[in-house]
Amino acid sequence: MKKLLVLSTALTAVAFSAGADVTVMSWGGDYTKSQVEAYHKPFTAATGTAVISVDSDNPAPAVKAMVEAGNVTIDVADVEYADAIRLCDDGMLEEIDPAVLPAAPDGTPATDDFLPGALTDCAVTTIVFSTIFAYDTTKFPEGPTTIADFFDLEKFPGKRAMRKGAKANMEMALMADGVPAAEVYAMLETPEGQDRAFAMLDKIKKDTIWWEAGAQPPQLLADGEVAMTTAYNGRIFAAAVGEGKPFGTVWDGQVYEYDLLVIPKGAPNPEGALEFIKFATSTQPLADQAKWISYGPARMSSGPLVGLYQDGKTEMAPFMPTAEANLTNALASSYEFWVDRDAELNERFNAWLVAN
C-alpha cells in the first residue's frame, strides 16, 4: 500500500512537471530580450512549454538566498563564471552532465564544440561578455581612448558610473594605474594591491554613481546623468547601434568572461530546466542570440552562423569582446580569484562605499 502511494505521488509529480512552465531568471533589459528572442520563443514553439522570465540585478545571490531558505521559485538562472563555480562548490546547483548536451550540426560532440572551460560540473556557458567603459560622444567628440582616461577627471570632466561591487572595478582600477593585464590578479592577491586599487577608485568616488542593474548604465548615459560609465558591452551596443544613441565604447582595459546557465537545487521543474538548457545552448539559438546583442556564442559551431544584427546591415564581428582589435589590452576575468575572494572584497568595497 505504501509503495503504491509513493508510486502514485511520483507519477503525479512527473505528470505535473511535463506540463509545467520553466521559470528563467536573468539580468533584464536588452540581454533578457535577446534570450527571449533566441531561446524562450523558439523553445516554447518547439516544446509547448511556456517560459516565464524573471529579472534580477544578479541572479547568483538570489539563487543562494532561495536555496538557503529552501524556497526556490526559479528553474534556470543565468550567472557569471565565478558564481557558477562557487554555487556549485557550495552544493547549491544541480549537476549537469555535458554528455546530454546536443552535438554540433556536423556531429562534433558538445564537449569539443564548446570553448575551453565553458562546460563545468553544474553549468553550461552561453556567451562571452565583457565589462567595458562607454562615454557620451556629444560630450567627448575626440573620446577617451584608454582605461586610465576613465579615472582622469581633469582631462575628461563629468560624472562617472560604475557597477556597485568589487568585481571588474578592482581590475580596471589597477589597469588604469598602469598594471599590465597579466599581473593584475597577482597584485590583487596582496593587501597592497587591493589598497592600490581602492586608492585609484578614491580618485573618482565623489563623482561616481553606482549602478546595480545592467540596464542602468545606458540609461544613465542617455539621461545625461553621467559622462562615462562602465557597462556590459552588449547593452551599450544595443543602445548605440539599435537605438542610435551617441555612445562610444572603449575596449582598452576590458574584462571579459563567460556567462552560464545553471539549475538551482530544489528547482520546481528540474526536468524542464534541463530541457531548456539543452535547447538554449545548442548551436542555432546561441548563434541567433548574437542577432540581438553583441555577445560571443560559446560554441565554435555557432561562430560561422553569426550574421548581421537585427537591423540587417550591421556586421556583428567587430563588436564582440573577442574580436582581435578589442583584445590589445584586455583581461580574462579569473574565476579562481573571485570564487574565494568575492565575499571578502565586496565586504570591503561596501564599507568603502558607505564611508565618506
Binding site: 538566498a65 557550495d90 561616481t208 539621461d223 574565494d340 571578502e344 570591503r348 564611508a355 565618506n356
Partner: protein
Amino acid sequence: MTDTTSGLTTSDGRPLKAALLAAQSKARRRAFLLVAPLLLFVILTFILPIAYMLQRSFENDGFSDSAPQLAAWFAEHPDGSEITEGAYAALVADLATMQANKTPGQAGTRINYTVPGTISLFKAAARKAEDLTPPYKEALIALDADWAAPKLWAAMRSASTSYSADFYRVAIDQKRGEAGDWARGAERERIYIYLFVKTFILSAIITLSCLLLAFPIAHLLATLPMAKSSLLMILVLLPFWTSLLVRTTSWIVLLQQQGVVNNILVALGLIGDDGRLVMINNQTGTIVAMTHVLLPFMVLPLYSVMKTIPPSYARAARSLGATSWTTFRRVYLPQTLPGIAAGSLLVFILAVGYYITPALVGGADGQLISNMISFHMNKSNWSLAAALAAILLVAILILYWLYDRLVGIDRLKFG
C-alpha cells in the same frame, strides 16, 4: 460604599454587588471577544514573524552545523585553554567533512563576519584536508600561518555554539582583535554605526524641513473659512492618497539633470547648460523626495491642534501691546507645541525606517539603514540582517512609546 451595596439584592435575590461585577465582567468579555479575532490575526502575522526574526538574529548555524568535532573539543576545554593538537585534529576532521558536504564556504562566511579574510582560508584548507597528515597543528600552519592566530580560534569558539550574540557585535562594528578579544573593527570596516547615525541625522533633517513647510500651511488651513480650507485640504490629502512609487517617479523626473527643474533653471538663465545641478542619486534626492512623501503626516496633526486655538488669544495679546512677533512667539507657538510634537515624532518614526524612496533616488550616499538590511537579506546574511533590524526595531519602539506618552496613540487621524 461596601456597607450600602452589600445589603442590596437584585430582583432574583443575588447580591447587587456580585450581579454588577458579573455584568461588568460579561461586558468586558464581550468587548474583548470583538477584538480577539484581530488580535489573534495580528499576533500570527505580525508579532510572530518579528519574534522569529529576533530568534534568527541569534541563530548561529553557519559554522556550528558543519564543525561538530571542533564544537565538542571547545565544550570540553573552557575558554582560555591552550589550543592543542587535539583541537587541530578535530578541525581537520571537520574540514574534511565540510569539503564532502560542500559547506566550507558557508563555514568560512560565518567566521568572516568577525575575522575578515577567512573565507578563502577555509576553502583552501578544506580542499586539502583529506591529504593532511598528523601532526595536524604543524600541517595546517604550514598551509597558512593564519591558522595559529588567536583571534581565529576565539572566533571559531564563539561560532561553534548554536546561538550567539556575535551578530549584534558585528552590527555595532566590532571585530576580533589580534588577541581574540572584541575590539572596534579597522576603520575601513566600520559602517553600521555610521549608517545608524546618518539615518537619524537625515531623518532629523527631513523632520525639520517637514515642520518648516507644514507650519505655515497648517496655520493657513486652520484660520481660513471652512469652504476655502476644505478645498486647500484636498491639496494636502491628494499626495497622501497617491502611490509612493508615483511620487518617487515624479521626483526622478523633476530632479534629474535633464529633468524639468534643471531645464527651467537653464531656460531662465539661472544656471548654464553645463552647470546643471545634481539633485538626484545623492542625499539631496533622498531629503527632497522624503520631505514630500512625509509632509502630510506633519500637516494633519499640526492642523488639528491649530484648529482648536481660539483666535481671540492673539487678539488679546495684540490689544495688550504685544508686537505680532511677540504674539506669535509667546502666545501662539506654545499652544501649537502638542501638534509639533505629534507631527515631528510621527514623521521621524516613519523616516527612520524608510526603504523604497532612498533605494530609488538616494544613490550611494543617500542610503539609510533599511537599505543595508535589505542588502544583507539579498546576500543571504540572514542573521546579520536580523540583528540590524532588531536594533532598528528597538529604536522605533522607544520612539513609539514616547509618542504614546506624549501624544496618545488614539489621537492618530487621517483627514
